[in-house]
Amino acid sequence: MKIDVVYRGKKLILEFDKEKVKVQDILKHLNLSRYYAFVIKDGEILDENEYIKDGEVVRVVNAISGG
């Protein structure tokens, strides 16, 4: 399954070798922790156990910034 993700202003296509992908799988794929990152769809924050459907576009927010 492929999922379109917007991450820090860039579009990414994430590939998974399973057909059902949860929010937590996306965070894991990007090596992010739920303690500082989350996933949003249509302006709503998704629960980490929610499934992402094929063709849906989600935005991943990594709250950690440097400086």
Binding site: Y35, Y36, F38, I40, E44, I45, I64, G66
Partner: protein, 301 residues
């Protein structure tokens, strides 16, 4: 998804360190009330004060500006264009758009008019970019706030920023820095009062507030912050947080409660005035005048 603790509707947000689930509206309310409680706990300012928010265009400064504005404080913004290519251009646009949205003033200072843009300074000054940025931001924020007649400067430093700095200062036992690590730095010797109302709000909480409040902020990282040690420290602390939620808040809050008072009572660092510009400084020449002198020596200014 869990239910909102307040209204039993579907929760949008779960805060593990507070063991709290909240819907969108109650989360926004929780955030603003936490900001107000922090302002009152540390006696940062009142509704009679003229406050200037240091705005970068990122989630923290815009969330802070939004929350203070909604809470009824008299608060305008100050943006420094650091001249870091597209990143600065975009963040300036977002800061300007936000100020127009809430109808508050945004003052813009072009670093290229005062010294040089950061990428030019970087060519001759090899200090980490974040350190140069911090120096010029602190200097011009203080100088301009005084000139414009504001009596409080507020910055969007959050719990992750503060605990990462505390971690770094503790690892290095940097006592002089630890003595100044308090969310309120009172006015003295040419410095105006500087406060951090987001010091008990995590970076994720701040980002969630920005998203749920429809605040358009710059998500891209500054290109010069790549590899900053503060990011490493934040990651280390998040590993501890994952094992034991609330660790960061405890580390920071208990430092303020138990350690800061001991440090504060020890010998105070005396501030003088810079011989060149008259701004407050620990040394005869302040960091910005020193930087300018260095740039002139290298004939780039």
């Amino acid at each position: 998804m869990k239910k909102c603790f307040k209204c039993k509707n579907k929760a949008s947000v779960f805060l593990p360190q507070h063991r709290l689930s909240l819907c969108k509206d109650h989360y926004i309310q929780w955030f603003e009330s936490r900001v107000e409680k922090t302002v009152k706990e540390f006696k940062m300012f009142t509704k009679q004060d003229s406050i200037l928010v240091s705005v970068s265009g990122g989630k923290d400064s815009l969330s802070l500006w939004n929350a203070l504005y909604k809470l009824g404080y008299n608060v305008d913004g100050f943006y420094i264009n650091l001249g870091i290519g597209e990143y600065s251009q975009r963040s300036k646009e977002l800061a300007t758009a936000f100020s127009e949205k809430i109808g508050r003033k945004l003052y813009i200072l072009e670093l290229s008019d005062e010294i040089l843009p950061i990428p030019e300074i970087r060519k001759v000054d090899f200090k980490p970019a974040c350190s140069v940025c911090g120096t010029v931001k602190r200097y011009y924020m203080n100088k301009k706030a005084k000139e414009l007649g504001y009596n409080i400067i507020t910055t969007g430093h959050n719990l992750d920023d503060e605990s990462a700095v505390l971690f770094s200062n503790t690892i290095n036992w940097n006592i002089d820095y630890l003595k100044r690590q308090y969310p309120v730095l009172n006015e003295e010797n040419g410095f105006i009062r500087k406060v951090k109302p987001l010091c008990k709000i995590s970076e994720k909480e701040s980002a969630m507030y920005a998203i749920l409040s429809n605040i358009d902020y710059i998500e891209e990282e500054c290109p010069f912050s790549e590899g900053a040690t503060s990011i490493d420290y934040k990651i280390y602390l998040s590993i501890l947080e994952e094992k034991s939620p609330g660790t960061k808040l405890r580390f920071y809050s208990e430092f303020l409660r138990n350690m800061y008072s001991i440090l504060k009572s020890s010998e105070k660092v005396e501030l003088g005035k810079c011989e060149i510009c008259g701004e407050p400084s620990l040394n005869k020449i302040c960091a910005v005048c020193n930087l300018k002198r260095k740039l002139k020596e290298k004939e780039v200014l």
